[in-house]
C-alpha cells in the first residue's frame, strides 16, 4: 500500500515534470507542471506535513492558473500548434543535469545519514506556527517584507500608467481616467 502511495505520485511528478518541456502546447505545459507540483504536494502530505502539503496544492493551483494566462499572452506561438523549437544547448544541459543527478544520487545513497533526532510533535502545524510567529517572528517579517517589496516592484515594472496619469497633475481628479472605469473609481 505504502509502495503504491509513494511510487504513483513519484512517477507522475517526474513524468509530468519532464513532459513540461516536451509538450508543444503552452496550456499543456503549464498544466503538466501543475500536475507535477500537485504530486509533490501530495508527497509532502505523505511525509506527515498535512498543512504544508495542502498549502502547496492551493498555492500551485492558483499560480499555475494565472501562469497559463500569461503563457498564452506572451509566449511566441501560444498554442504551439506548430512544433516549438525554442531550446538551446540541449545536449550540454542534458549532460550537466545527468551528471548532477548521478552525483546527487550517489551522495544520497552513500551518505551516512544520521539517525532521527527527536520525534515529530503531535501537531506539526502548531510547531510551524510557533516558529514562524513565535517570539521573534524573524522569518515571517522577512517574508512579509519580501512579498511587499515584490508587490511594489512588480506593479512598477508592469504598469504603464502611474497615478498622475490616472488622476491628473496634483491628483485632483475625482474619478480616475482609466480605459475601463473600475467599480470604485480610484
Amino acid at each position: 500500500m505504502e509502495f503504491v502511495v509513494f511510487w504513483v505520485p513519484a512517477v507522475l511528478a517526474v513524468g509530468c515534470g519532464a513532459l513540461v518541456f516536451r509538450f508543444d502546447s503552452m496550456a499543456r505545459a503549464t498544466f503538466s507542471l501543475l500536475a507535477s507540483l500537485l504530486c509533490t504536494g501530495g508527497l509532502v502530505v505523505l511525509l506527515g506535513l498535512d498543512y504544508l502539503g495542502v498549502v502547496v496544492v492551493l498555492m500551485m493551483t492558483l499560480e499555475m492558473s494565472v501562469m497559463a494566462v500569461f503563457m498564452v499572452m506572451y509566449m511566441m506561438n501560444p498554442a504551439g500548434l506548430t512544433p516549438m523549437t525554442m531550446t538551446h544547448n540541449t545536449r550540454a544541459a542534458a549532460v550537466v543535469c545527468g551528471l548532477l543527478f548521478a552525483l546527487l544520487a550517489a551522495g544520497i545513497l552513500s551518505a551516512p545519514w544520521p539517525d532521527r533526532r527527536g520525534r515529530p510533535p503531535d501537531d506539526p502545524t502548531l510547531d510551524l506556527g510557533m516558529s514562524l510567529m513565535g517570539p521573534q517572528m524573524l522569518t515571517m517579517m522577512t517574508l512579509a517584507m519580501a512579498l511587499f517589496a515584490t508587490i511594489v516592484a512588480t506593479v512598477v515594472l508592469a504598469t504603464r500608467r502611474g497615478r498622475y496619469d490616472r488622476l491628473g497633475d496634483g491628483l485632483r481628479a475625482r474619478r480616475a481616467d482609466d480605459p475601463v472605469p473600475g467599480g470604485v473609481g480610484r
Partner: protein, 402 residues
C-alpha cells in the same frame, strides 16, 4: 430496449431550441419565443446545447441570401446528434412547426440508437464561436503567420494597454443569444477586449414591413390604426429590447419577466393587466443600485450625438428611457382613437426619416465598441438595440402595400 426508448423519449420531451433568425423575421421570432415559453421548452444559447433548429430566415436579396444559407448551415453542422431542423415560414405556424420538429427529433433519436447510421463521428464544425462559424482564427492561433490545421494564425497589433498582443478576428453574430437579428459585427479581439469593430448589417428581403414600425407605416398609408395598437406595439418593442438588455447584463429573472410581459402585450392583454406586469418590473429595474453601478458609464455617447439619435447618454439612461416609454405605452393600450399619421415615431425613432433610425444607431456602434471588454460590448449593443428590419428599403407613405 423499451427502457432505452423511454429514456430517449423523456430526454427529448422538451428539446432545447435554437432559433436562427434573420433580419425581417421579427414576428416569427416572437411567435417562436412565446410558444417555447408556453410549452416550457428551453432556448439554447449555443448550437452545442441545441436539439432543434428552427430556421426563421428569409433568403435575402442577392448575395445576402447565400450568406444566410451559409450561416444557418454552419449552425446546423455545429449541433450534435440527435438533432432536427425545421423551417418556419409564417408566424402563425410556430406551434405546428415545433410539434413537427419534436416528432422529427424523436424519430431521429430512436433511429440513432436503432440503426446507428447517424452515429460515429460528430461533425467537425469550424473553430471560433458557435455563432460566428466563418471565424478563421481560433484563439489557439499563434503569432506566426501560416496555417495550422487549415486555420490561419492570429497576428499582433497595437492594443489598448500598449502590449501588442495577439489579435483575433472574428464575426459576432448573427446567431448569438439576445442579439439583434441579422447583425454581424466583425471585431478584432485581444483577450476579451474589442479593439476594432465594423458593422455588417444584412438587410432583410423586400416585401415585409418592419414589424415594430408596422402600425405607423400603416397609418401613414391611410389605413385606420387605433392608437392603442400603436402603443401596444411600442410597449412590446421596448419590452423586447429590455428583455435583451437584462439578459445581457445577466439578470435572467428580469429578462424573463420583461419577455413574459412582451408576450402578453402582443397576445392582447388589457391595459390594466399590462400595467400590473410592467409596474414591478420598472420598480425593480429603477431601484436596483447594482444595475446602475454596473451599467452607468457604459457606452457613453457625447450629448449632441445622443440627442440626435434620440437616446440617452449611457446604457443605464437608455434603459431608463425604455422603462418610461413602456410604462406610458402600457397604460395607453386600450385607446381606440385613430392614430395620427403625421408624427410617425416608432420604437427606434421617426419612421420616415431620411435615414432609418436603426441605421444611425448602427453607425454609432463601432466607436462605442472600441476598447470595450466583451461584456461591455454586449451591453452597448443591447442598449442601442438597432432593429435591422428597418433597413429594408423604407416603403414610402402611400406605397406601403406596394
Amino acid at each position: 430496449m423499451d427502457l432505452r426508448g423511454r429514456i430517449v423519449r423523456a430526454a427529448l420531451g422538451r428539446p432545447r431550441v435554437l432559433a436562427a433568425v434573420s433580419a425581417g423575421a421579427t414576428e416569427r421570432r416572437l411567435a417562436v419565443e412565446a410558444e417555447l415559453a408556453r410549452r416550457g421548452w428551453p432556448c439554447a444559447a449555443a448550437p452545442a446545447e441545441a436539439d432543434l433548429l428552427v430556421v426563421a430566415a428569409d433568403p435575402g436579396p442577392g448575395t445576402a441570401g447565400a450568406g444566410t444559407a451559409d450561416w444557418v448551415a454552419r449552425l446546423w453542422e455545429a449541433m450534435p446528434a440527435p438533432r432536427a431542423r425545421v423551417p418556419l415560414a409564417d408566424a402563425g405556424e410556430a406551434a405546428a412547426v415545433l410539434d413537427h420538429g419534436l416528432a422529427e427529433l424523436r424519430r431521429r433519436g430512436g433511429a440513432r440508437h436503432g440503426g446507428g447510421h447517424r452515429g460515429g463521428h460528430a461533425p467537425a464544425p469550424p473553430a471560433g464561436s458557435p455563432d460566428s462559424p466563418q471565424d478563421p482564427d481560433g484563439p489557439h492561433a499563434g503569432h506566426d503567420s501560416g496555417l495550422v490545421d487549415g486555420l490561419p494564425l492570429a497576428g499582433r497589433a497595437d492594443d489598448r494597454d500598449g502590449l501588442r498582443l495577439d489579435r483575433l478576428h472574428l464575426p459576432l453574430g448573427p446567431a448569438l443569444p439576445d442579439w439583434p437579428a441579422g447583425l454581424v459585427l466583425r471585431v478584432a479581439l485581444q483577450g476579451d477586449v474589442v479593439q476594432r469593430a465594423a458593422v455588417e448589417a444584412d438587410p432583410p428581403g423586400p416585401g415585409r414591413l418592419p414589424f415594430w414600425n408596422e402600425p405607423w407605416l400603416r397609418a401613414a398609408a391611410g389605413e385606420r390604426v387605433a392608437r392603442g395598437e400603436a402603443a401596444r406595439r411600442l410597449c412590446a418593442a421596448h419590452l423586447d429590447s429590455l428583455g435583451r438588455f437584462f439578459a445581457v447584463t445577466g439578470w435572467p429573472d428580469l429578462a424573463a419577466r420583461a419577455r413574459y410581459a412582451r408576450d402578453r402585450a402582443l397576445g392582447g392583454a388589457g391595459a390594466a393587466e399590462l400595467s400590473a406586469l410592467v409596474r414591478p418590473l420598472t420598480r425593480r429595474a429603477r431601484g436596483s443600485r447594482t444595475l446602475r453601478w454596473l451599467t452607468a458609464g457604459v457606452g457613453v455617447l457625447p450629448a449632441g450625438r445622443a440627442r440626435s439619435l434620440g437616446v440617452a447618454g449611457d446604457a443605464h439612461g437608455r434603459m431608463l428611457g425604455w422603462l418610461d416609454a413602456v410604462a406610458r405605452a402600457a397604460s395607453a393600450c386600450d385607446d381606440g382613437a385613430p392614430l395620427a399619421a403625421d408624427p410617425a415615431v416608432g420604437p427606434r425613432g421617426p419612421v420616415h426619416g431620411p435615414v432609418p433610425a436603426s441605421r444611425a444607431l448602427l453607425d454609432a456602434l463601432p466607436g462605442l465598441l472600441e476598447g470595450a471588454e466583451f461584456a461591455c460590448a454586449r451591453i452597448v449593443v443591447a442598449s442601442l438595440d438597432p432593429d435591422l428590419d428597418e433597413l429594408a428599403r423604407a416603403p414610402l407613405p402611400g406605397a406601403a402595400h406596394g
